[in-house]
Subunit: 450 residues, 2 copies
């Protein structure tokens, strides 16, 4: 794609949005990447590098000399700088920190203290900080001189002398009021529920921003000192990451969601995230096999039971998976308080019964009406009606049990402070496979007098 | 919670954010709801009603007299008005449309023509429309007089005489330039990739907004006429809805995601979304049973095979589910172009082989080392080593097949224009259950000479 001509590359790259440039960059081979970085220089590269997956960042930075890196880091907003430093190795982080000016270094070290997945780890300090006692003119002068970043104009917060957050001001308030109006008179209150603690989970910050339709959410410490802000685009990234994490956990894929795309992730990384669950579930599944082995007599006496065995077992996995997925999603959307456990249980119990009875009735009807046409062998004294009812009853019992287990497990996991989504559908499936085997053979033994 | 005293209710409700008010509303019984609506009046209720789940909206509106509804609808932004009208029944929609002023009615009818899940169906027309030939002063006067809504100040677009989108202007550009500067000189270009067609899927709009970190995305028709805007908070709602839909589809839950929360949704609605998949999968699972029935001789000759049967079968479901989930999520994040199918296949083939060989080796080791201690019966001439290798080979074959099937099915579904997420994990599980049975018994027959 890229010719050898540096000035042509520069012209094209300068016209592209950094998000598109980052995508194009990932399609290049290593040699082309380095050439591209050299051609566009640190100024243009800064925003693009922020948009790269974590695994490519250190390589990209290594293409530049220290003097160029100084320029690059100076051009970045503080939250982007922190994101980049969190993505590189420890050795590189120290080296890059040494390239920052003293002020930036202190600021960056401060932000690096917060865990990456907290509100503090995500925030930027790039907002306009005003005092209530300023006039509109003083505020505008202050913003113009102290902060070069024009972004701060759309994010202005008012603090008292000790740095406590006391209000916010919009640009239009400054623009449409006379110059001697005190900030105190035009600032709006920031309700307590529309701020977030720096130590709070990043997902909580995104949920607040979304609930109140905010563009910017202020981040404070436990004494309500204004520390920074989280913006709507961070919130969107957070929500997307968290959804992906939930989806992966539900499929029994372990570990943190990596920022690399599916295709960029190496086979080994994919392997590691999938293997551990598979091995554990495999060992657990031998318990089902053991149950089957124990019921050898029952199965060999009426081998026709095997026709329905996979169905009864699988129905449990499917209903359990549905119930757990619904409950887990409702939890991560914040719909289920711990106090609602009983309500959830009652709902799923009714739902499971309805599903179980109707699925049982369907299978009984199919068995009694269609099965005789195939003239299968049944033991003496067992009618098709009795056989059909046995299968139906087992199916009903399995569906009800599994639905309730599927709903209860994530609730139980949360109660003991485990991640509900980690009690994934595969785990529930394997569990109810075992109970399904027991239910099926026990009911068959009893009703068919084996 | 709510006392009988109307003025107290009003005072509390006036202090709450409408998002919180909407949550509180949903916890009330019907009588309390009506009382709350009457107390706060249509002005305060408008924003709250927008935030309610669809099923509660018509009931809430019916609490007001036509004259009050006129006020309520007049206070709403046009996209909220459309959302509400899309949520109520046909008869109510016509009745409410009749309450709008002629201008609003025409505008609303126009917006109602777009499908609810398109960019057009989600957009608002509440933006500032400027002409390139205006001066800054004319622009400010125009915005002040024509549009009462101050929201439009942060969303100003420049159109030509025929209404084509040609640029955008920020409030700070108006505030910090002299009054006689022409808009043409201060407007910024809107690149073609940073706008969306009104007929495009809402998810596309949200993805663009997210990719370019925009607060507002302009919506145009095929001739590039500026029609409206989609804001960051709409985009967040869209992303959340689509993630929930994907998660539910992956668990085999049918139908559109409803706006009601888990607890608000009735047992019957939950039932309908789950039953159809369960019935289909149940019928399909009988195919597995049929395979088992056909291999009666093999199983009864070496009944020890049943110890590993559930494990081999389930391993297929788990690996297939993992592969399909990863591929489906990568697709909905826009990471996989149709051209990458071969790359995905190659990756999953290597991954499946790695997983299959390692899981097979683990199970062979366990079988050969531990199983003899339990002194199970094996047919004459079959050593534990041969038995272990048989199981291991079957497991490896099953895992490789399932991984590839799991990855290919969503890609195939997309190729024939089906929703990849609808080829959910349960469907893949049921499918590879059947192939797993065949693989297991065929390999056992061949290697154990049955």
């Amino acid at each position: 794609i890229k010719a050898e001509d540096q000035s042509a590359v520069l012209a094209v790259a300068g016209d592209l949005h950094y998000a598109d440039l980052a995508l194009a960059y990932q399609d290049l081979d290593e040699e082309q990447r380095i050439m591209l970085l050299k051609s566009i220089g640190p100024n243009l590269a800064a925003d693009m590098i922020v948009d790269l997956p974590d695994s490519l960042i250190e390589e990209a930075l290594d293409a530049y000399r220290p003097a160029e890196l100084k320029v690059l880091f100076r051009d970045l907003s503080d939250d982007d700088r922190v994101d980049i430093l969190q993505a590189v190795g420890d050795e590189a982080r120290l080296r890059f920190l040494g390239l920052l000016g003293p002020e930036d270094e202190e600021l960056t070290r401060g932000l690096l203290r917060y865990e990456p997945e907290t509100a503090g780890g995500r925030m930027t300090t790039g907002f306009g900080r005003l005092l209530a006692s300023m006039t509109v003119k003083q505020a505008i002068d202050d913003l113009r001189h102290k902060q070069e970043n024009t972004e701060t104009l759309s994010r202005m917060y008012v603090v008292d002398a000790k740095g406590h957050l006391i209000g916010r001001v919009r640009l239009r308030d400054l623009a449409f009021n006379t110059w001697d109006t005190p900030i105190r008179d035009i600032m709006a209150e920031v309700p307590p529920e529309q701020r977030v603690l720096a130590t709070a989970d990043q997902e909580e910050a995104a949920q607040i921003l979304m609930k109140y339709d905010l563009v910017v959410l202020p981040v404070v410490d436990e004494f309500d000192h204004m520390l920074g802000i989280i913006t709507h685009d961070d919130a969107m990234d957070i929500l997307q990451e968290e959804s992906t994490e939930d989806i992966e956990k539900l499929a029994g894929i372990a570990g943190e969601q990596v920022e690399d795309t599916y295709l960029q992730t190496s086979v080994m990384t994919h392997f590691k995230r999938r293997f551990i669950w598979l091995l554990g579930l495999g060992m657990l599944a031998i318990a089902s096999g053991y149950v089957m082995l124990r019921f050898e007599d029952t199965l060999t006496q009426v081998f026709l039971l095997s026709l329905y065995l996979p169905m009864v077992v699988a129905a449990g996995g499917n209903t359990g998976g549905q119930a757990s997925t619904m409950v887990i999603r409702a939890m991560s959307l914040g719909e289920l308080d711990p106090g609602t456990a009983r309500e959830v249980l009652w709902k799923e119990l009714r739902l499971g019964s309805l599903l179980g009875v109707l699925l049982g009735a369907s299978i009984a009807a199919v068995t009694i009406l269609i099965l005789p046409a195939f003239r299968p062998e049944l033991p003496e004294g067992v009618s098709f009606a009795r056989f059909g009812c046995t299968v139906a009853l087992a199916l009903t019992a399995q569906v009800i049990t599994s639905t309730v287990v599927g709903a209860l497990l994530p609730i139980g996991a949360r109660a003991i402070r485990l991640d509900p989504a980690a009690v994934a559908a595969p785990a529930i499936t394997t569990l109810v496979d075992v109970s399904g085997m027991v239910i099926y053979f026990t009911i068959a033994q009893a009703l068919l007098h084996l």
